[in-house]
């Protein structure tokens, strides 16, 4: 199972692309995804926060990930 992860704002700057594909065996949960991304891109660990969205909703660390999910890293938001 592979995963596609969309990147926005500073996470896109850090990773250098707007979508990254994680080949199989991909992380099975939100927590594993964050750990893997921080291992590959240590600058992600320096952010004030970095959430994960699954299908347009904020997801908890134990949330499972599937290939069909729309997954995104969510750095600190700053709208308004």
């Amino acid at each position: 199972m592979s995963l596609k992860v969309s990147l926005f704002g500073i996470t896109r700057d850090i990773v250098g692309t707007s979508v990254i594909e994680l080949p199989a065996p991909a992380p099975a949960t939100v927590g594993e995804l964050l750990a893997e991304m921080r291992k590959q891109y240590p600058a992600l660990g320096e952010l004030r926060s970095c959430a994960v969205a699954v299908n347009n909703e904020y997801a908890a660390h134990d949330h499972p990930l599937r290939t069909v999910d729309e997954i995104a890293l969510i750095p600190p938001v700053a709208g308004g």
Binding site: G9, A53, N56, A72, A78
Partner: protein
């Protein structure tokens, strides 16, 4: 009472947002208009770049407005328009407009929506200075 929610790369039509919440059942229309300021923490700002994860931003905005309707059941109409892309000084970045029967709830609901929007809606702001740019709030 379907809220009018949008994210646009075009200049925001403030009058249209106010008109969208107009209803005969409301005696109060309250609006917050966020504009681009010329400094941030004492550092001169030249312009702003907003980026949005549109589908999630609209989903989360819908949640925020639903919470407002729960907290203020008398809330009539709501409009939220957020700009994205490059904005110059003085440009309107966001409009929140609400209509309620009486004014007290209109202030409270409007403030709740803009405050909560800033916490959960997936929009990012990059400030441009004379000597570089920075993503707002990204680092501790």
């Amino acid at each position: 009472m379907t809220p009018h929610l949008s994210i646009t790369d075009q200049p925001i039509a403030v009058a249209a947002a106010l008109a969208a919440v107009q209803t005969d059942a409301a005696g109060a229309v309250n609006a917050f208009i966020g504009t681009v300021r010329n400094q941030s923490g004492g550092r001169p700002v030249r312009r702003l770049h907003y980026e949005s994860y549109d589908s999630m931003a609209l989903t989360q905005l819908g949640h925020v407005v639903a919470q407002a309707y729960e907290k203020w059941p008398m809330l009539q109409e709501v409009a939220v328009v957020h700009r994205k892309g490059t904005l110059e000084l003085g440009d309107v970045a966001v409009v929140v407009a609400v209509a309620t029967p009486h004014r007290a709830e209109s202030f409270a609901a409007c403030q709740f929506i803009i405050d909560t929007l800033k916490q959960v809606v997936t929009i990012w702001k990059r400030e441009e200075y004379e000597d570089g740019t920075e993503w707002v709030a990204a680092h501790p």
